[in-house]
Symmetry: C2
């Protein structure tokens, strides 16, 4: 069996583009560009909690990095350097090779260096830390939403949750929708280009990982505002076309995790900007509600015009 050091060298050492010293020393060394603020985030994915233990390793490699990149996209930051800590039950070289292939495919697409890491024996656990750059003072946090702001969402949220429900046997799917929904779950596309384009435009932003209701609540708490979410405006088209009924589609969008679309608020005066941006990025932008001054109040406007608090809860790992 090859040693830990051999495995790391063979599978996790690739040329680095923004890193002076990458994998192999006590620490990696890199130099941020002048005038840049750094944004950094870590995410831990655990077998049995975030994915099935027999999940396809190439998809896991992609996703472990993609969900981290998405956190930087949600700040308007450009991802640059990743660290990977990996606990494996055994040194299964075929697994490691496929995992590394997925990870580096994502790294290459988004211009990220794997700057370093750690491997160890243990129950399967993937922890990626990402660091990136944003011009000083221009990061978009969760705290900037203002009463009167429009609420926007990118893409077609809910497909990941629908894919998960399909894999669990909880729902049928139209044959043509199986691959897109499972891809949305297993190979999420972090919205980096959108995040960068939203600097100076979005007032508050995050990426949707726990469902619209739970994540919008984070913005409301951080901003001290409320919101009305217009159910009739939610982009359910892809979910309905996949065979979900309206109620299930709403559950997927409002409470389903693993979407990694950007949820943001912006001044109503910016509305026309998003049409052009959507065309340029080939990515839908949907206006789904309004920020209010009722701090902490989240209401869903139903098609009959009534406004009521949501019934579903966000996914909370400890509930």
């Amino acid at each position: 069996m090859p040693s830990e050091f051999d495995l790391i060298r063979r599978h996790f050492t690739r040329p680095a583009r923004h890193t002076e010293l990458a994998v192999g020393d006590d620490a990696a060394l890199f130099t941020p560009r002048p005038g840049m603020q750094l944004a950094t985030s870590t995410d831990m994915l655990v077998a049995g909690t975030h994915f099935f233990a027999d999940a396809e390793p190439e998809a896991l490699g992609w996703k472990a990095l993609a969900v981290n990149i998405s956190d930087l996209a949600a700040m308007g930051a450009e991802p640059r350097w990743a660290l990977l800590a990996l606990a494996l039950p055994a040194a299964d070289e075929a697994w490691i090779e496929a995992f590394a292939r997925g990870l580096f495919a994502c790294a290459a697409q988004f211009g990220v260096d794997l700057a370093g890491g750690d491997t160890t024996r243990g129950p399967l656990n993937l922890c990626v830390t990402i660091t990136g750059e944003v011009p000083a003072g221009s990061a978009v946090t969760r705290a900037g939403a203002r009463p009167g702001d429009d609420i926007w969402i990118t893409g077609e949220p809910g497909r990941g949750a629908l894919g998960l429900a399909f894999l669990r046997g909880e729902t049928a799917l139209d044959a043509a929708a199986v691959t897109p929904c499972i891809d949305a779950l297993h190979r999420p596309q972090p919205r980096v280009a959108a995040g960068l384009a939203l600097r100076g435009v979005a007032h508050a932003m995050l990426d949707v990982s726990d469902g619209l209701v739970g994540d919008l609540t984070h913005i409301l708490e951080a901003s001290g505002t409320g919101a009305v979410l217009d159910l009739a405006a939610l982009p359910l088209g892809a979910l309905l076309a996949a065979g979900a009924d309206v109620e299930f589609a709403l559950r997927c969008v409002l409470g389903g995790g693993d979407d990694y679309e950007l949820l943001f608020t912006a001044a109503a005066a910016q509305r026309e900007h998003f049409g052009a941006l959507a065309r340029r990025l080939d990515l839908p932008f949907t206006r789904i509600g309004t920020i209010t001054d009722h701090a902490g109040s989240l209401l869903l406007r139903h098609p009959d015009g009534s406004e009521r608090p949501p019934e579903c809860r966000s996914y909370d790992h400890f509930i």
Copy 2:
């Protein structure tokens, strides 16, 4: 049961000193000082591999951060920002409170901000990522050892391994040595002040986590050199006083992990410098060998004058 978000807020939110935006958004934001290169490293500690599952959580909190800080010390970098990813089998608030107490004690001692993190449910796993600063170009890597360099070690290596052997019932210890050896194992002191003082002096450096033989081998491989390690020069005093015989003490120093002392090489002309440095830092510096030009050759000089390759192997998680 409190939710994940409540637990994070209650136990992992403390005032930050070098971080513009810490725990609670998609990413943390910080601004490096001008002229600084960044050093970053991640370490994953897994129950059953690196510590006993019932280990005292306060000590675990200390150690999870300390071993990362040690990686930066070994580069001559100043630790500044840490991220913590934590998988827990259950939301045991007493455990989390004690763990956070140990983590923040270490953070306070070394001036580190907890800038962000992630908590999730899963088999107990602690992954800390540390980022720090070093004046551009002055980091000390593993690759700079030159033939003729002296080899030095800080402190009293082997005490962690001796403490572990005691806890496993493999050896007896003098009563007075129990606490220092177990403290060396559970609350290692990263050698940050020594690492900073060795910038511009040490040619190659790392922190000893896998035993002297294994870690010195990393320096030799990175530098393309060899070494002769003088067994009679090794600082065994603390281990012998603790009750270990010479052979067991040598095994602890040469092959035992978890020491976090600094192993470095420096020009022979610098010898007198280290006496003064040892006094200033109140930390022993011991000269234990010489770098040679026989690439890849590590020899142990025995007290009878013979020179032979080591018999023990480093600790390798996958062997």
